[in-house]
């Protein structure tokens, strides 16, 4: 039966070329708006290299130190808090810590890299991490390897650089054990990784170094507030997203326990969220429920407006097919079967539009990538921002799934009312086509 629907839909497309063209273009444009949202959402939330575990990640980045009723200082995590409170936690699979390019600019100023005695000293985006960082995030090492736990413990000046920087400085990528000067301090290159896009903003940098190699980061202050708060973001990899509740419970306990060791104040942390929720929370500055509602409303609006337009097109198209529906009903088709047929045919007509819309949305996302995918943090990171989009970010089953789902919803919204109205017409009227 469906084979015949496909055949008929194809014939109808051929016979009504003008309608089909308008419909495909209309659908394509309508879908592209929603697809842009879907593609951006996918790029922001899916597991995309090097951030290959986003679905199991949560970030701890906001903490307040409260003294009495009056004084409250909010910042990221300090090294003492991390060492005493976070690293001993047992629920996570791995815990990485990092100081991103924006915070590092406040600590060490703009970062410049050069070969000793060299003329070139490009401004780079710098990130300081521990060794677990390299286990959580999957970078593609062209040569060498990341610095390890021993390097971090020994505060060795090791550096991983990206391909672009290696080529800029040395004209090649095979630069293991070469010495570079980072703001005048000698570092030894231990690895070169393929360039990462600034779209993966949690790991984006040109150069990565052990946090312990920067004196201002590795020392624990004797002042309670300074040691508790700091510039660190904690990147937690859970065994499973289902561990989040258990992790939260352990985190609350750890903070509570840590507070008993403080003499002058106490820590109050913003409860961590899973990666996607946190990302949406940062984007909309609303709680999860409100954010979901806003997203749903916007999506519905984006779908409803084109659906109403397409519905008008469908209405006139359906009018031409009323005698056919009468014949089909006369020969034994019930309304339910015909409704399915009309929806299926319409979906088939919508799919080329969906493909066109998807391609158009790729073009829009690519053209507007800085606007849609850039962030304040990456803009402030220093260095030249690389907002490249890889093929795998755009072309994948999840995005196709979104596109199909959107087509399906748009199909239902735009064709169900015209189809039901056409099927409400009495068979004898349909056969006589006295519908006006």
């Amino acid at each position: 039966m469906y084979k015949q629907y496909i055949k008929q839909a194809w014939q109808l497309m051929k016979q009504n070329r003008f309608f089909s063209t308008v419909y495909v273009i209309g659908t394509g444009l309508a879908i592209s708006m929603v697809m842009v949202m879907a593609v951006v959402y996918h790029i922001r939330t899916a597991n995309i290299a090097p951030e290959v575990h986003r679905d199991r990640m949560c970030y701890l980045s906001s903490l307040s130190y409260v003294q009495g009723n009056m004084s409250r200082n909010s910042h990221s995590y300090g090294l003492r808090t991390i060492k005493e409170c976070i690293l001993p936690m047992t629920t996570p699979e791995l815990i990485a810590i990092k100081v991103g390019p924006m915070f590092l600019r406040y600590i060490v100023g703009d970062s410049y890299l050069q070969i000793p005695g060299g003329d070139v000293s490009p401004k780079v985006s710098l990130m300081a991490t521990n060794d677990s960082f390299w286990q959580i995030y999957r970078f593609r090492f062209l040569v060498g390897k990341p610095y390890d736990g021993a390097d971090v413990s020994s505060s060795l000046s090791r550096a991983v650089v990206n391909e672009k920087t290696a080529r800029k400085l040395f004209g090649k990528t095979d630069v293991i054990n070469e010495t570079v000067l980072l703001n005048g301090v000698e570092y030894s290159v231990c690895g070169v990784v393929a360039d990462v896009s600034a779209i993966t903003q949690d790991v984006y940098a040109d150069v990565w170094i052990p946090y312990s190699s920067i004196p201002g980061l590795s020392e624990v202050s004797s002042v309670e507030q300074r040691s508790s708060l700091g510039p660190f973001t904690v990147c937690v990899l859970l065994h499973s997203p289902r561990d989040m509740e258990r992790f939260l419970e352990e985190w609350r306990q750890q903070i509570k326990q840590y507070n008993t060791t403080l003499a002058d104040g106490k820590l109050e942390g913003e409860e961590p969220l899973m990666y996607t929720r946190n990302m949406l929370h940062l984007l909309f500055m609303q709680d999860w429920k409100k954010t979901s509602f806003i997203l749903f409303f916007v999506l519905l609006l984006f779908l409803l407006v084109p659906a109403l337009n397409l519905s008008g097109l469908n209405m006139s198209h359906m009018h031409d097919r009323i005698p056919e529906l009468g014949v089909r009903r006369a020969f034994g088709a019930c309304k339910g079967v015909l409704l399915m047929q009309l929806l299926t045919e319409n979906l088939l007509l919508m799919l080329p539009g969906g493909i066109a819309g998807l391609l158009f949305s790729y073009l829009l996302v690519w053209l507007l990538r800085n606007l849609l995918l850039g962030s304040f943090i990456t803009m402030m990171s220093g260095g030249a921002m690389d907002m490249s989009l890889s093929l795998s970010m755009l072309v994948n089953m999840q995005v196709f799934g979104y596109a199909f789902l959107i087509c399906l919803v748009l199909n239902l919204l735009s064709s169900i009312v015209p189809a039901m109205r056409a099927l409400r017409i009495h068979i004898t009227d349909a056969l006589a086509n006295t519908t006006n």
Binding site: Q4, F331, G332
Partner: protein
């Protein structure tokens, strides 16, 4: 085969009430070729539509093959029409976006019949109506007579007991009309199918086994 008892059909609008059929009592026997005649607007097509379960009477009973159809729902009516009735319309009502073979297969599409069986049955009836060489053509590529023969093939492909034909030669020239009538007579005589035909053509009516006449919604003969 078909039994209509005290049948009445009234069309009501806000302002007027039009009686289309009034107290019709009629029995059509198995294997009969009945023709219905009367002036335009006398209710003969309405009667055929009610017999074909395409329309419902305002009151009265429609019994087909011993089954009272009055209280059937849309799904039951559709299934009943599909198995027991075949339709031939004056304006053919072929689906232009389907080729001849697919048009003929149509009634079988709504039964649980495999694609290969559908194809086989459709090919057989097209052979019977002499159009096996036009199977891949589209209706717009056929003459009126050929279209009507396709419509007849579609009406008989599901082996219905009854064929209801509403002015089947009304849109055809006399030569093609004769061909179509010959085909209907062949189906009646050779296959034993019951045929009820609405016609304006006295000559065609005389060739059938019985003729009834309508005037102003009432059977007058």
């Amino acid at each position: 085969m078909i039994k209509l008892t005290n049948l009445e059909k009234i069309y009501r609008t806000k302002e007027i009430e039009t009686v289309a059929l009034e107290n019709v009592n009629l029995e059509v026997q198995k294997g009969e070729f009945l023709s219905i005649m009367g002036p335009s607007g006398c209710g003969k097509s309405t009667l055929l539509n009610i017999m074909g379960l395409l329309d419902s009477p305002t009151s009265g009973m429609v019994e087909i093959n011993g089954v009272n159809t009055v209280n059937m729902n849309d799904k039951e009516l559709a299934a009943f029409r599909n198995k027991q009735l075949g339709f031939v319309f004056q304006s053919f009502h072929l689906i232009n976006s389907l080729n001849v073979l697919d048009n003929v297969e149509l009634p079988l599409l709504y039964r649980k019949v495999s694609a290969s069986e559908r194809r086989k049955a459709a090919e057989a009836v097209l052979e019977k109506v002499g159009l096996s060489h036009r199977m891949r053509h589209f209706p717009t590529q056929l003459s009126g007579g050929q279209c009507q023969r396709v419509a007849i093939a579609r009406a008989i492909v599901g082996n219905p007991y009854i064929i209801l034909a509403d002015e089947p030669t009304g849109n055809l020239d006399s030569k093609m009309g004769i061909e179509v009538m010959e085909l209907l007579h062949q189906l009646n005589k050779e296959d034993g199918r019951t045929i009820v035909m609405v016609t304006h053509n006295e000559q065609q009516a005389q060739q059938t086994s019985r003729t009834i006449r309508f005037f102003d919604g009432r059977q007058v003969q």
